[in-house]
């Protein structure tokens, strides 16, 4: 099942700060809901264990995350391929940072997910709203946290 979401939160920080945070996997993990562990294979590859779910539904996915088309401090692509018993997920995210003068930025994100297995065939009704909420919450929270003074 394909799910496409997008957003463009404004961040109270300049692009280079946003960019730094985006590449800081520990920071990103601290924002993401349900992340249990992040292991950097190199500066472009990460292994992530993350719970995914809402309410009673919860699955733990093993994710391989890869960054590509990295063009500092403007844009990058992030792909995540995740496996859980009986289910799978691929998420491709495109991120663009636009300066908002004088000292702010806009994070334009687009996430396209492909969901497989039990989650797709059983969870379709449960999933759509949930995935949207989780994705939006993640980037909104990211935007908010980057914009917090003490994080810069």
């Amino acid at each position: 099942m394909r799910l496409d979401f997008a957003g463009a939160p404004e961040i109270a920080a300049p692009p280079d700060v946003v960019w730094k945070r985006l590449l800081d996997h520990e920071f990103v993990a601290s924002v993401a809901p349900g992340v249990e562990s992040v292991q950097a294979v190199d500066d472009r590859h990460f292994k992530v264990v993350s719970g995914f779910g809402v309410g009673t539904v919860k699955l733990t996915f093993q994710l391989d995350v890869e960054l590509s088309d990295v063009q500092p401090p403007r844009s990058l692509k992030m792909s995540a391929r995740g496996k859980a018993p009986g289910s799978g997920v691929d998420v491709r995210t495109t991120l663009e940072i636009e300066p908002v003068p004088p000292n702010r930025s806009r994070l334009k994100w687009q996430a396209s997910s492909e969901v497989r297995g039990t989650v797709a065939s059983v969870g379709a009704r449960l999933l759509k709203g949930t995935a949207k909420k989780l994705t939006e919450t993640f980037w909104d929270k990211f935007a908010a946290r980057v914009g917090e003074k003490d994080t810069t």
Binding site: R2, G86, G88, D90, R116, G117, T118, A120, S121, A124
Partner: protein, 784 residues
Amino acid sequence: MATLFGSGIKRREDPRLITGKATYTDDVKLPGLLYAAMLRSTYAHAKLNQVDVAKARKAAGVVAVYTGADVKDKLNTVPCAWNVPNCDLKVPPHPVLAVDKVRYVGDGIAMVVAESRAAARDALDLIDVDYDALDAVVDPEKAAAKGAPELHKEVPGNIAFTWKVAGGDTGKAFAEAAVRVEQRIVHNRLLPTAMEPRATCASYNAGTGQLTCWITSQNPHIHRFLLSVMTKLPEHRIRVIAPEVGGGFGSKIPGYPDEALVSFASMELGRPVKWTEDRSENYKVTIHGRDHVEYVELCGTKDGTITGLRTRVYAGLGGYASTAAPGIPTILHGLMYSGPYTIPNIEGTIYGVYTTTTPVDAYRGAGRPEATFLLERMIDLYARQIGMDPVDVRRKNLIPKDKFPYTVATGITYDSGNYQGALDKALQLIDYKKVRAEQAKARKEKRYLGIGVTTYCEICGLGPSQVAGAVGFGGGLYDSAIVRVYPTGVVRAYIGGKPHGQGEETTFAQIVADEFGIPVENVEVVAGDTEATPQGWGTYGSRTTAVCGSAVKVAAQRVKEKAKKIAAHLLEASEADLEWKEGKFVVKGSPDKGKSFGDLALMANVAWNMPPGVEPGLEATAFFDPSNFVYPFGTHICTVEVDVETGEVKILRYVAVDDCGPQINPMIVEGQVHGGVIQGLGEALQEMAVYDEDGQLLTGTMMDYAVPKASQMPKVETAHTVTPSPVNPLGVKGVGETGTIASVPTLVNAVCDALAPLGVTHIDKPLTPARVWAAIQQAKGGTP
């Protein structure tokens, strides 16, 4: 003694079923039983890199784990048994477990065998599979298009076959026709949903080399044959038992990989192994039905004579060719394009197409519902175009009752029929003139009443073995029975068919009891065990009563002939002087001098005093091979009201008039019609298997696939006409599928008729409120 034939006696199979004492496959328990669970692909199409089962093998309770690599040299691939000729059929290998590639969500990747159901299930979660995703394609028309992802290297362009049917000169007919109508029709993919999920329990005895398999099977002898091919075990070492079977609707005909795998595991491990699918697994791996995209054209005169029909059909086969799959959209579909009508020119091209979906095979009606639907829809479109009542168009084109046997343009010959009789009866029951008047009145009040009519005939009672061979079916289609009389006069009929709800334990006992003039209680019908019953070709295609029932009749007649010889000997009379009267052979003119069936049963079995040259015992085997198929027919009419604000369809009345020849048990016939009609209404109104573009089945459980519920379905009013078939000694035709074949176009025609004032001409089924509403918006010129 009153004849039992025609009597609606209560079913003899029911007492065990209503008390919970029946044994279905999953109820079978054996000492040392192990449980299997299957790891299924979550990808619709992917290269299979690595299947890591190391952790699963070490898990508590796990006895063995097998992958495609482990079994590929030990088990043969899954055979396709209907090799339709003259269509360049390509059947690529179908491994029992995927080896290098998966081709649908649900394709088998590994099997775990463990000490308990739970341990087997737990171990599945420990298997790690590495895939490389490939593009999926789920729509058969798209899969047949240039550039579509290819499933099999042996099948360029995914086209499994291109099959053509032609009769007359269709090109000329269309060129000259005054009226032409065309329509693209999509037959929604369906999930058969027998209430009992499939299961296999295999027990291999290494001492005797004998494999016993309990299988949820509509055709245990075919399963024995297919298992022999897959497991490489000689057929005489395999015993297949289909115990109680909880519905099939075609889904329990094919040979499946899991049946071979479970057998293999038992042979390898020396312990019995059982596997039972979950419903969600059933929806992914047990065959699906329908899935056609059709382009249909019909032409005719302005006054309602149909002169030609032309089709181009893309029939989805799924990832592999299932057992009977190639025959369904061809032989059982294309050959029926004339329906009950005298259409002189017919041409059809059917493409069988592999798609990254669950294999598609025979589902109730198999091919004929699609043919009947397209024809009945086209006739309504045609009638509307020429401004004629759809009933008048039908009547004008029906094959006259004095023209049988009648050969239609597709080349097949119908056995017998009185189509006008059934039509008249149905019109009378619904009071057609009155409902048309009500409709006219309602339209003035902006209420949307519709009337849908279907006149149909269908091909069933499959069928003469010679024809089966000619059309590439991998087996004969005769059937068989042994009628064995025990010394005390009770009788058993061992039959080749395998009833699973159709009630032949009762109807066949009625045939035997009538023949011998004994109470029906003294007859028992035995089915479903290849060790006890003679070669049979299964219960499907509305064939069991026409073919296997005829074998029972013939075997019983043979027994009676022998009994007559013994009676003549005992009565010291010539056979010519004997007559059968009230359950006895009596000497003509001396009615008190006679031998009852019971007397003869005893004498034949103790054999103290047999006529010279006559063997002891009283039993006979018959293999009945019909001279033709049978063609039941009828007229269904339904009236509906559509709420145009919400798109909801309310069925007001549903009338079914069917002719299946003489009815052995009218109660059972009526039950078959009820069930068939409701199953068709499910197809017409709410059932739909939906894949997303990546080949994920989105309707993977009963929460999303709408099997009809009691509260959603109407009452069906039934009636019948009786036109015997000349092709079998009972004169019977089939009735298992007629309801489903007829009801789908009946309902859709009714809804389209209701919405005619709004300009709606066609809506693809299922007619969910959402689709009906969208069609109304579209017709109004708005966007849905």
